[in-house]
């Protein structure tokens, strides 16, 4: 497993509030919180675009899972998603889970057999937010992305 960010419990709580503050006043209306089970914490932040009572045109959902390890909360997974609304209207995401950093790209106008594409690990939620907000404005396109695996075309029955 690639080592993620390691935080004390106090730093984790601070990070949650800092991320929420950093996102406020930018792309939309922000809600956030976390849940925990034994040695796992799930951080979730959602941005409703534009929010404030207007119909949603897009939603950003950021989830991180942190595992308690050697006296610190270590980030073990992230899922940073953009959904165009109303769903399913397109999706773009940066994921790191099950050891594999990758992108999801779903363009409903050009359906593909698989929507997993190569991606790199990074540790900057702010960069992800800016990227996804830019994509939300420009529209989703999967052009230029390299598929993680080749999926054979379905055979005729």
């Amino acid at each position: 497993m690639r080592a993620g960010r390691r935080l004390t419990t106090h730093q984790y709580d601070q990070r949650l509030d800092e991320i929420a503050d950093a996102f406020s006043g930018l792309f939309g209306e922000v809600t956030y919180g976390h849940a925990e089970f034994e040695d796992l914490r799930k951080l979730r932040l959602a941005v409703d675009i534009p929010g404030y009572g207007l119909p949603s045109v897009a939603t950003l959902v950021f989830i991180e899972r942190h595992l308690w390890s050697d006296g610190a909360w270590e980030m073990a997974e992230y899922l940073y998603d953009l959904h165009l609304e109303p769903r399913p209207h397109g999706r773009y995401a940066f994921h790191w889970h099950d050891l594999v950093p990758h992108r999801h790209c779903v363009d409903p106008s050009l359906p593909q057999p698989d929507h997993h594409y190569e991606g790199a690990f990074f540790d900057d939620i702010g960069w992800a937010a800016t990227e996804l907000a830019t994509i939300a404005g420009a529209g989703i396109s999967c052009r230029g992305l390299r598929p993680v695996r080749e999926v054979p075309e379905p055979k005729d029955a």
Binding site: G25, L26, F27, Y32, K42, G53, L54, A76, D98
Partner: protein, 90 residues
Amino acid sequence: MIEFEKKPFYSPPEFAALIGVDPSTVLDWIHRDQLFALHLGPKTYRIPLAAVMRRLDPEASRPKRVPISARGLAADARRVRRRALATTVK
């Protein structure tokens, strides 16, 4: 709090009219990173509603802490622990 018509994005002149300043002041704020705006082109900016709300009603625009569902977390914990173990025990 100023009453205003909400919409997803505002041009700099629209925002300037809302708060009673000159449009050049708004552009100045954007150029100095004192006001968040999307850059659509070299001289084209759009200010999201969230940035407008932050200026006009900071309290209402604060992020809201909400309960997060713990459903599925037990299975997540098992999966994440298994992956961590698989990569540390060779």
